[in-house]
């Protein structure tokens, strides 16, 4: 396990330990969201730096690095649902969380381009309505493109 992965495991475990019964707890929670956002920023930066090194030829492509970065994202997202519930609970109590909006936005962002949650939801609804194509249909179209 990488050092960052170990930190994210701790982040996940500690994310379950919040009460929402006092102003101090609210500040503590707000700081925790800020820490979570910094962790996400760090993962994104790590990914960006890796891709920059690939583009400039400073690093060779390594599937393990790509897969490890994917795992880091999954670790980061893991406590998000719980933290969003905690955030709602604090807000119901009347507390103002300064990192609420950036954290919500971050939670709903996708680390896989093209897998945006809203797009997937829409696709699922269209599929239910019968908007689907068969593999044969797609293969035929691809063959036309390859020949064309």
């Amino acid at each position: 396990m990488s050092r960052l992965s170990g930190i994210l495991e701790q982040y996940k475990a500690e994310s379950w330990k919040f009460e929402h019964d006092s102003a101090m707890a609210c500040y503590d929670f707000d700081d925790w969201l800020a820490f979570g956002l910094k962790c996400l920023e760090f993962i994104r930066e790590k990914e960006r730096r890796y891709h920059d090194r690939l583009k400039t030829g400073k690093s060779s492509a390594d599937r393990r690095v790509i897969e490890e970065i994917q795992e880091l994202y999954e670790q980061w997202y893991s406590p998000c649902r719980h933290l969003l519930e905690e955030l709602e609970a604090f807000e119901r109590e009347g507390y103002v969380i300064t990192n609420a909006q950036p954290f919500r936005t971050a939670c709903m962002s996708s680390n896989i381009p093209g897998f945006e949650p809203q797009k997937l939801q829409s696709a699922a609804e269209r599929a239910k309505a019968g908007h689907v194509r068969s593999p044969k249909d797609l293969r035929d179209e691809l063959q036309r493109r390859i020949r064309g």
Binding site: R63, C80, S110, G114, A123, A124, H131, E141, L142
Partner: protein, 100 residues
């Protein structure tokens, strides 16, 4: 158990955005996925649809290599997998020592 495969329109478009030979190989991979979706994929994670599966794999053609991600759901009668998204991220080819 083998499943039928259906592609939602946006997934079809995602597939067709890939270079044709890569897209053809992705179709082959998805055919393999249909043979053993539980074994080859993993459950989706937040923030994606909770009832869904993700399958990621490498696909290459000549000097080009893609990290492909597929999102799918099982049909209500569990006879088909419905592909909802296909994306591919192109990366330089890896060194042979790193395995395939």
């Amino acid at each position: 158990m083998s499943y039928n495969v259906a592609y939602e329109d946006e997934a079809s478009e995602g597939l067709l955005r890939l270079p044709p030979v890569i897209a053809s190989k992705v179709l082959d991979e998805i055919d393999k996925l249909a043979e053993d979706p539980a074994g080859l994929s993993r459950p989706s994670y937040f923030p994606y649809l909770p009832v869904g599966q993700i399958y990621q794999f490498w696909c290459e053609d000549g000097d080009r290599r893609f990290w492909v991600s597929v999102f799918f759901q099982y049909s209500p009668d569990e006879t088909s997998i419905i592909i909802l998204a296909v994306t591919g991220q192109e990366l330089p080819r890896m060194e042979d020592s790193e395995g395939s």
